[in-house]
């Protein structure tokens, strides 16, 4: 990507470049999170984590949380914050569409 001009005045190419960079960073973070989550759950499906019938195989012992990644100053090493999922009225269960 080629950006002409500078940041001193209105620069639409620079705005676009910033957006492209954001998308790359965000894409990288999503992949990082997906690789970290050693299970299949909902739309997150990994072939190595599936039942014999090819259904999503969850790992509730280790991954029943929402992940929030904090920018640590280094894009490639974000800090993980876990927000545990607590089920009160309805208990966690394995859904079957069969």
């Amino acid at each position: 990507m080629k950006v002409l001009g500078d940041g001193e005045s209105l620069n639409q190419s620079l705005e676009k470049a910033g957006r492209v960079e954001d998308f790359f960073e965000f894409g990288e973070l999503m992949v990082r999170d997906a690789l970290h989550r050693e299970e299949s759950c909902g739309g997150h499906f990994r072939v190595e984590h599936q039942t014999e019938e090819g259904e999503a195989l969850r790992n509730d012992d280790d991954f029943a949380y929402v992940a929030a990644w904090e920018y640590s100053g280094d894009v490639s090493a974000p800090t993980l914050h876990k927000e545990d999922l607590e089920f009160e009225a309805v208990q966690l269960a394995q859904r079957s569409y069969k």
Partner: protein
């Protein structure tokens, strides 16, 4: 097809600008004029020339971002369309097309074809809204609105706030914009509680920034939504009535 573009280039608000001429070959007649600028900009970047800054967003005539003075007319020669809806098939092969930014003192040039239209935001902030408690929406049939009234309000609400009316006006007046934004609320029951305060506030704010209307009618001809200048008459009526209403109410507060 081929076209020759004469485009206003200006590095910043306080820098002197000038026209630059660009020849563009292999123009598809199906391109919009914004897409022509995309193609030209891609070429300019390759040639180490800073691309032409221009405003655009939805490219389907509803956002009001695009704002080009094309051959001396806001949004170009087609009636009832925004710049993004102007296609190259509307021009002759080999056409010379002059493109300038909106010209109005209230819209200072930011760069090339981009102007600062925040004076419009000041008018909306002054009263272009209704105040209503949030929560469950009331039943739609609770407040009956005559068909003619809702149709008229919708005609005014079609304004996309592009600023073509101001650019077209020899006085750089913003009466058509303000009237559309005012009357789509003033016509409906929901707009009544704040009607008179809104009218005075929006008209007075408009006067701070823009010239005065002398009924040229250029605004209506340039409007991509073909909003009628009848709304300006409604606004003037409401403004006079608001002065009267407020004088009466002043003794009670």
């Amino acid at each position: 097809m081929k076209v020759t573009l004469k485009v206003w280039r200006q590095q910043g608000p306080d820098v002197r600008g000038a026209f630059e001429t660009y020849d563009v070959d292999d123009v598809s007649p199906d391109m919009s004029i914004l897409e022509l600028f995309d193609v030209l900009n891609d070429r300019l970047i390759v040639d180490d020339v800073e691309p032409i800054a221009f405003d655009h967003d939805c490219r389907e005539g509803i956002c009001g971002s695009c704002s080009m003075m094309i051959n001396g007319r806001p949004h170009g020669p087609e009636l009832g369309t925004a710049t993004c809806q102007l296609h190259m098939r509307k021009f002759e092969d080999g056409a010379h097309i002059t493109v300038e930014p909106w010209r109005a003192r209230a819209f200072p040039i930011l760069k090339d074809l981009c102007v600062d239209r925040s004076a419009f935001d000041r008018i909306i902030e002054a009263g272009g809204y209704i105040t209503a408690p949030t929560g469950t929406a009331p039943d739609a049939n609770l407040i009956l609105v005559p068909k003619e009234v809702s149709d008229t309000a919708m005609d005014a609400a079609a304004c996309i706030g592009c600023g073509a009316c101001v650019a077209a006006c020899p006085n750089s007046a913003a009466q058509l914009f303000t009237a559309a934004k005012l009357e789509h609320l003033n016509l409906l029951p929901q707009g009544q509680p704040e009607r008179w305060g809104r009218t005075v506030a929006m008209v007075d704010e408009m006067e701070r920034w823009f010239g005065s209307c002398t009924n040229h009618g250029e605004c209506e001809a340039a409007c991509p939504k073909e909003i009628s200048i009848d709304f300006i008459a409604l606004m003037n009526r409401d403004y006079i009535r608001a002065q009267f209403k407020q004088r009466r109410l002043a003794s009670q507060t």
